[in-house]
């Protein structure tokens, strides 16, 4: 069955440090992978996606994610965190015969 796991409810990082938000998935066939961000009292915004090609995908606001097929992971990364990056982050997956489903979300807190 199709699934997405975000093992960390919250990630804390100091401003200027690199950040990683973890995501693993399970889907039949090749996955289509997405990251979304939800700021307080705002809708979900698309950050980046992996469909095919380069395993390292770059997206909005300096974020990037690395697709690792052997580990079925798609971790979100940023080299230098900003306080304004503090938000709720969702990983999502769909496939050739699978609907778009979301993980439970990870709250990122960046401290000044």
């Amino acid at each position: 069955a199709q699934s997405v796991a975000q093992p960390e409810d919250q990630v804390n990082v100091a401003e200027g440090n690199p950040l990683t938000v973890k995501c693993t998935y399970s889907v039949s066939g090749n996955p289509y992978l997405f990251w979304y961000v939800q700021y307080p009292n705002r809708g979900l915004q698309f950050l980046l996606k992996y469909i095919t090609g380069d395993n390292l995908v770059k997206g909005s606001y300096g974020f990037e994610a690395e697709f690792n097929k052997s580990q079925t992971s798609f971790h979100l990364k940023k080299p230098s965190a900003l306080v304004s990056d503090s938000a709720l982050y969702f990983c999502a997956v769909s496939g050739l015969t699978d609907k778009l489903i979301f993980g439970t979300g990870t709250r990122l807190q960046v401290f000044p």
């Binding site: 289509y32 997405f34 809708g43 915004q45 969702f90 015969t97 609907k99 778009l100 979301f102 979300g105």
Partner: protein, 116 residues
């Protein structure tokens, strides 16, 4: 419009009443999704439309929930005999392609439903 529009933005209703939530997707988007987000929790899939048909409605919590889509455009999510556990933000999203498609979904601002 430029984005996905949902109405109303807020709805307070008495337990037992029926409510109707509306979603206007981005023009030309064939796929439409409904999700539910309870306070402090993740997105719970409810139903997916490809055009006017719903190939996957496996997430609808009970037979009190139904949804339809007309003209490959507007969709309405209806909750009958609302219960307090229905209180949540209901999110609608649309994408250019659907089932198995690789285009990202664009979300509306949601309808915050409170059942009192």
């Amino acid at each position: 419009g430029a984005g996905v529009s949902q109405s109303p933005s807020n709805k307070v209703t008495e337990k037992g009443k029926d409510v109707e939530l509306r979603c206007d997707p981005i023009s030309g988007h064939t796929a439409l999704y409904w999700y539910r987000q309870r306070l402090g929790q993740g997105l719970e899939f409810l139903i997916y439309f490809q055009g006017n048909s719903a190939p996957d409605k496996s997430g609808l919590p009970s037979d009190r929930f139904s949804a339809e889509r007309t003209g490959e455009s507007v969709s309405t999510l209806t909750i009958q005999r609302t219960q307090q556990e229905d209180s949540a933000v209901y999110l609608c999203a649309s994408s250019l392609e659907g089932w198995g498609g690789n285009t990202e979904a664009f979300f509306g601002q949601g309808t915050r439903l409170t059942v009192v």
